[in-house]
């Protein structure tokens, strides 16, 4: 792999930038691999990278129906955080946040990680009690968290409506300073380039259409470019976990819902933090290009459409304008949708399955992007060793029937409510 550095930049500038290597190869699929990862988004590519880097397994293929990062990796609002209360989630996401802080160096690819801080706004006494409890739980788990009072928030966020008469009066906020945002496409590209350099075959424009089964063992996949055999198969397909599991004769504890996000025209720096409000149903941050990237609720009905409706668009925009009145003058640049695999407790699945040789990474609800490094790291461990790492030991596929749901919100088996 040609390393990126100030020297390589200068050297290539001398030759008019005509001699850069392609970031990854486009190989033809081999007849067989040790491991096949289905899904060339951030999670699948990260899994392949850590299989090669941490476990020395390099005879790996990542198979992608479309193009790299064209699914939810390229559709999220790029927020990275680890502000969870329950132990399983807290330790898992905190491991991920530590990986995020070194990711650019590790991959030799600028993922533009920006630990600018994530602020959860609190609008009632009950909101504040719950947030302080969560903040204390985080600190007991060794994760940074601090409470910001109204005076601090008013000073740090001059755009925010902190009037007592506001539709959502602000009482305080819970801040995680080490959290922030990253460039989502760069995460997919960085992992792809680093995995490719270690020998992983990345095969795009190749859709998996079936599983090759021998007894109870999955021994490969049928694809639009022919059958490919594999010692082990890992599924990492945000949005279509149900359909992939169906190919192996399994039913998923998942409903697919559509979530939309939107971005405004670019303006000069005005919002220094990622700001979220549970009561108003909003999260917003300003991208490095200057656009305000924001989103809110699901549409609340099953959908595979990858586009949102006007009702939610209006709801989310109204929420942002009520909190930040001066953004009402901005024009909307784009809005889009992605398919969320909503699990039955709002927590993900990184697990063995009832089929030998088949592993599952899915059910990310709408929190998959921040998990990309930790998810790939834990999934690689699970595939390589055949057993989960302690960090993902709770995220099993059978935890629901066994009564070990990890329900951060306490909403029960109602996927749209998480």
């Amino acid at each position: 792999m040609q390393r990126y550095s100030i020297w390589s930049l200068a050297r290539n500038a001398m030759t008019g930038h005509k001699n850069w290597q392609a970031a990854w190869r486009h190989p033809e699929p081999k007849p067989a691999y040790d491991v096949i990862i289905v899904g060339g988004g951030g999670h699948g590519l990260a899994t392949a990278y850590y299989l090669a880097k941490e476990h020395g397994i390099t005879n790996v293929a990542v198979i992608e129906k479309g193009y790299l990062g064209g699914g939810n990796t390229g559709r999220n609002t790029t927020i990275v955080r680890s502000n969870y209360m329950h132990d399983e989630n807290a330790h898992f996401y905190e491991h991920g946040l530590k990986l995020w802080h070194d990711l650019t160096k590790d991959l030799n690819y600028n993922v533009m990680f920006s630990p600018r801080g994530v602020l959860n706004l609190l609008h009632s006494d009950a909101d504040r009690d719950a947030a302080k409890r969560r903040g204390n739980a985080m600190r007991l788990n060794g994760i940074d968290s601090e409470y910001w009072d109204l005076a601090t928030i008013a000073k740090k966020l001059p755009d925010l409506n902190v009037s007592k008469d506001a539709r959502y009066p602000v009482k305080g906020g819970l801040m995680q300073k080490r959290a922030g945002t990253a460039r989502h496409d760069a995460v997919a590209w960085g992992y792809a380039r680093a995995a490719d350099a270690r020998g992983v075959d990345i095969i795009q424009q190749c859709e998996v259409t079936g599983m090759i089964q021998d007894g109870n063992r999955i021994v490969g996949v049928e694809t639009t470019r022919g059958p490919i055999r594999a010692g082990k198969v890992g599924i990492a397909v945000a949005g279509h976990t149900t359909q992939l599991l169906n190919m192996a004769g399994l039913t998923a504890p998942i409903e697919s819902h559509v979530l939309q996000a939107m971005v405004s025209e670019a303006i000069k720096p005005t919002l220094d933090y990622v700001v979220t409000s549970g009561a108003a149903h909003l999260y917003v941050s300003q991208s490095d290009k200057g656009g305000l990237v924001f989103g809110g609720d699901l549409e609340f009905y099953n959908s595979f459409s990858q586009r949102g409706g006007t009702r939610t668009l209006e709801h989310v925009t109204a929420a942002m304008i009520s909190l930040f009145p001066r953004y009402a003058k901005l024009r909307l640049l784009r809005h889009w949708g992605g398919i969320m695999d909503m699990s039955m407790d709002g927590s993900p699945i990184i697990s063995k399955t009832p089929r030998d040789g088949l592993f599952l990474n899915g059910g990310w609800c709408y929190g998959g992007f921040k998990a990309t490094p930790a998810s790939g790291w834990c999934f690689a461990h699970t595939i390589a060793t055949g057993e989960p790492h302690p960090l993902n030991a709770g995220f099993t596929l059978d935890r629901f029937e066994r009564g070990y749901a990890i329900d951060e919100r306490g909403a029960g088996p109602v996927p749209k409510a998480h």
Binding site: H240, T242, Q243, T251, A252, P253, I254, E255, S256, F300, Y301, N302, S303, F304, S305, G309, T310, R311, M344, F400, E401, P413, V414, P415, K416
Partner: protein, 99 residues
């Protein structure tokens, strides 16, 4: 914005409705005094598993900001077309494959 045909009120805006979910799930009979492992598994599957098809989906909605009746709708979850809606306790008409 979808227009959902309410059997009582006719086509109304989606914003008047609340989504309930998959209408094909059947709660298994767990009235027996001795619950077998199979019955327990069936009940767990009923609570936690979903068919989640990518295509036509039979689902319950409630006209919560209208007549408040529950209804059963058959909707394509890929393009959001609705091809039938009936009262919640009625059966949806059957359609030939591929329509």
């Amino acid at each position: 914005m979808m227009l959902i045909p309410c059997p009582w009120c006719g086509p109304r805006a989606e914003s008047e409705f609340t989504y309930i979910g998959d209408a094909r799930r059947q709660r298994p009979d767990t009235s027996a005094l001795e619950v077998s492992p199979e019955a327990l598994q069936a009940h767990s599957d009923y609570v936690y598993l979903r068919d989640n098809p990518k295509g036509w989906h039979q689902e319950y909605w409630q006209h919560s900001s209208g007549c408040r009746a529950h209804l059963k709708v058959e909707r394509n979850v890929v393009d959001h077309r609705i091809r039938a809606s009936v009262k919640a306790d009625e059966a949806l008409p059957s359609f030939p494959e591929g329509r």
